[in-house]
Amino acid sequence: MVDAPNTDAARDGWRATFFFHLFFYLLFFLYIFLYLDPRLLHCSIMSYWRLPPYVPGSGGFEQIPGFPGKTAMCAAGVLLYCFHYSWAGALIITAVAWLLSWGTGQCLDVMSDGRLRALRFIPAIVVLLQYSRYYHFMMENLSIALGLLLFYLYTRACIRRGALRFILFLFFSAVIYYAAVFAYLPFVMLCALYELLVKRAWLVDLGALISAALIPIVVSALLFDISAAEVYLCILPNDPAVLPYDPLSVYFNGPVLYYFLYVFFPIAGLASVYWRYNSDKLQNRFRRVDADKGKARKKKSRKSKDDKIQQSKADTSQNANPSHGMLSAIILLIILICVVLLSTNHQERHYLRIRFYSQQRMWNEVLYEARNLGTKYFNVCYCHDVNRALYHSGRLLDEMFAYPQPIDWCLYHVEAASRSLSAMERRARFLDLSETYYELGRVNEAENFAWDALAGLKYHPQALKRLALINIVKRQPETARALLRILREDFLYRDQAQELLDRLEEDPDFSSDEEIQRIRSLIPDDDSINEGSLTELLAQNKHNRMAFEYLMASYFQRREVLEIVNNIERLRDFQYATLPRAFEEALVIYMQTTGQRPDLYGYEISPESITRLQELINILNKHNDKQAALTELADKFGDTYYFYNVYGFSGSQLIR
């Protein structure tokens, strides 16, 4: 019986703990929701599925043959798909972190009699680490959470007879192997440690270890059709090489975080038992000294195991006194802040925001994020997004050299340039390529890439929608309907699909839709199996503005100034009020190098452009060496075509 003051202290401690937990997870949630933004993870996940994705309708998860851990994989697939809503994603991540933390706390209570409880926050912090690096180990986290839950039930089953506990162990291990195989070994090891060191049931322990080797065979034979090698290989963590490349992280990299949770629980279990026995020994030594002082003390030295637990719980509640608790909370918060500060991958965040805003067609936001992205992330895909954003915001021919522009990259033939990317990254770009080709009017190539996106990413609702629109443009309403019916099964896209279906019903030709009509007008008349060029697209429709600007941009990139001069007249077709800046600078270069003044078709070159070139030449002459002048010129003229024309790359690359 605990006396009244102790009860009050325990109640106060419990309250303090509760409010601290609430505060901790609220901060956790807000950080994920407001800063990390799970929508970015959703965007990344949709491009780099390594799990069976959520696939609506027929042919979803059930089409994949059963294998150990499929349940956790499918659950993770659905939960990750919900990251489409930032709040839902943050809630899911917080809930999983809490579940892991709670499970760890229960595990430590059993193994160490309530000591080392502070360790329970480690899994939550690791989860935060994962997501602050923009990794998504949802399947692994869910598996471990289930493992901890079953371990908790196992230890709280109040079964004294070893044989019955062994049967329960068999059942739970089979469940874990079937549903969440990632947690199989940690679960078995925790149970073995528990039986060996806490319950001291050698026979049960031995039986558990032997049966742990047999359970995979039995469960696989009964429920799965997998090879003998896979029966055991699936128990081990998968190859983390499938993780997206993280160039900025050494200590917080994917494999470290991936394996951490796998090994944490057995090690924590072992450590807590070791701690428990060490502190018990210490206590016993003090008690032996005290025993000489009186009989009353002797009684206490013969405490039963249950009494020890009571004592330890009392210790724990004493530990929960306000000052001690406050100190723990402060330390924990400091750790949390350190983790956030040290681990958050801000560059990945910028990169994902570019991807996300690009998909949402939020072009100004794309350009804002692009300005803050480091050169390590600069690649052909990034350029594709940036140039598309520049085009859509009407700034391509003015500002393209304010962003890195590789000379050897043809502006929209990304698939050729993207061969340098990994297969995973390439697949992730299929949808972007499809959209660019669609906007250019090359709908067949757009369709081809959309199909590849759909299959390469296993499922992608935007690819389905793109395909439906392409088929509407191509006047193939039956195919569009079929695609939209599939899309209608997706809870995120149901309304959009239904709206398009209704419109198809009313007007199968979409004759009143201006955008569809505009894209139709851009499609080349003649069929060919050769890759269509921008010149051909312009010849088909001289008002294809995107084709024109991309063609000009490619001339700029290749430093073909004469071609630019020859196309001044076309600017009138697109009603440019003034010469775009890059055009102006190219013309100034032309006049400087040839001494001729081309027909400007009523446009004028600003005196500032001429002055700027003169300044650049002066600096070059001052250094008398192109390389020596590089830094100064990049600083002053990095965003100009002048700089690009001299060096073959944008000065903005250096400024970063």
Partner: protein, 506 residues
Amino acid sequence: MTFAALSVCALVFVQCGKQAAVGASRSVDRPAKIRPDYCGVVIPPNIAPLNFLIEENGAGHYVKIYSKDGDPIEIHSRKPDIEIPVDRWKKLLDSNRGRKLYFEVSVKDRENNWSRFEPIENSITQEEIDPYLAYRRIQLCLIWRNLGIYQRNLENYDESVVLHNRSFGYGCVNCHTFLNNDPNHMVLQTRSGAYGTPMLLVENDEVMPKRVKSDQTSGKVNFVAWHPSGKLLAISDNKFQMLIHTNAEEVRDVFDHASDLDLYRVETGEVISNSKISNPKRMETFPEWSRDGRYLYFCSAPQLPEELYHQVRCDLMRIRYDMESGEWGELETVLTAKEVNGSINQPRFSPDGRFLLFNVADHSDFPVDKLKSDLHMLDLSNGEHRRLSISSEQNESWHSWSSNSRWIVFSSRRIDGRFSRPFISYVDETGEAHKPFVLPQKDPAYYDKLVWVLQVPELIKSPIQVKGSQLSEAIVSYKKLIPGQASSWEPGTANTNANAGSQYEQ
């Protein structure tokens, strides 16, 4: 007790009301619109129930399925989905072989007025269809991230995986081919970056990975035909390349840079080549043995440069081959491309040897990616050929016969112009094919939600017994068997570069 009695009374009252209401319905002088199209079709007596959706607006639906004998099946449903109980359906069909089967549909509007449509009339044949169908499930693309060979029990809706590419590094698996519709003798082609390109030979419970490599062959088998004796395989080795049209209804086209035939002796693993069937100036593909095993039929066209892809038109040819002596006869042209006004592909003999079913596309030796391709039948008893009237305005391909020569199954895009679905058609003794019906599914809206295509449907007499794990273990063991056979291409993607070989698969 009182409650039970009242409940029974209420139930009887409701049922009587229902019947009375349906009985007092207004007649509509046309059949109800249903989806899939199960109107006027000929069905085997052992097919799974033809579940369907009623496409008439209504708040309640009633369907009566009946024939001359047996109890009619009555279904009331608020939803337009009509799911027919399997056991009662089986009984009804079994007791009415050779007779008509009627679907009488009534729909209730919001004012509780019933409209009864004219009954939909279908026919039940005497002849059964082979009870299992093996097919490939794949997405429409060049990338194999999720595909497999599946089998389906046609008498119910049970579907199981034969081999999924998840089990061998997301490679490609294609062209499951059976000896005389017998799943105990099967070949499967696989490709994977990790494990190479073994041909899997299944003999009863045994799975053997085979390397089909010689001086003339690349080791990558495409199309296969079993010799009726089961001792010989005719194989094709194609080098396909994908082409993309800039402005055509059909986006993709396939060009074959080289295609030859060879024979493979099952017992010895010997590859037999002959210049008559591997002429570098011509492409030879789609082998098929005559039922007496004396002739090898195949499709052949002059080897043209890529830019003339639209002029590739295959003739149907044959050559005599004596399996015992290994002697070859002379090449004979059976049917020219000109005669059928298109390119002849995928010849398949009926098991009784009387009919040869093939398809005709505008051009190409790869009809799958054509917008349109028709089924044609050659009657070998009189040498006459004709386009089958069941051909739609869309693509039909990958046809196969049932073991009793009375049923054909083929992949057709007729539902929506894009996704291939298996269709079954009855072929009577004169070679007339009757209106086909799509493979029935438990969920009547199944095909509306399916992003995969189901292709290469092959009818088999019993389920495939070998396990997926046996097949995948054989693939994995192939690498150990022949080190260095793993090809350089990346798993899960198709390299469309012609020089890389035939990596775009059917």
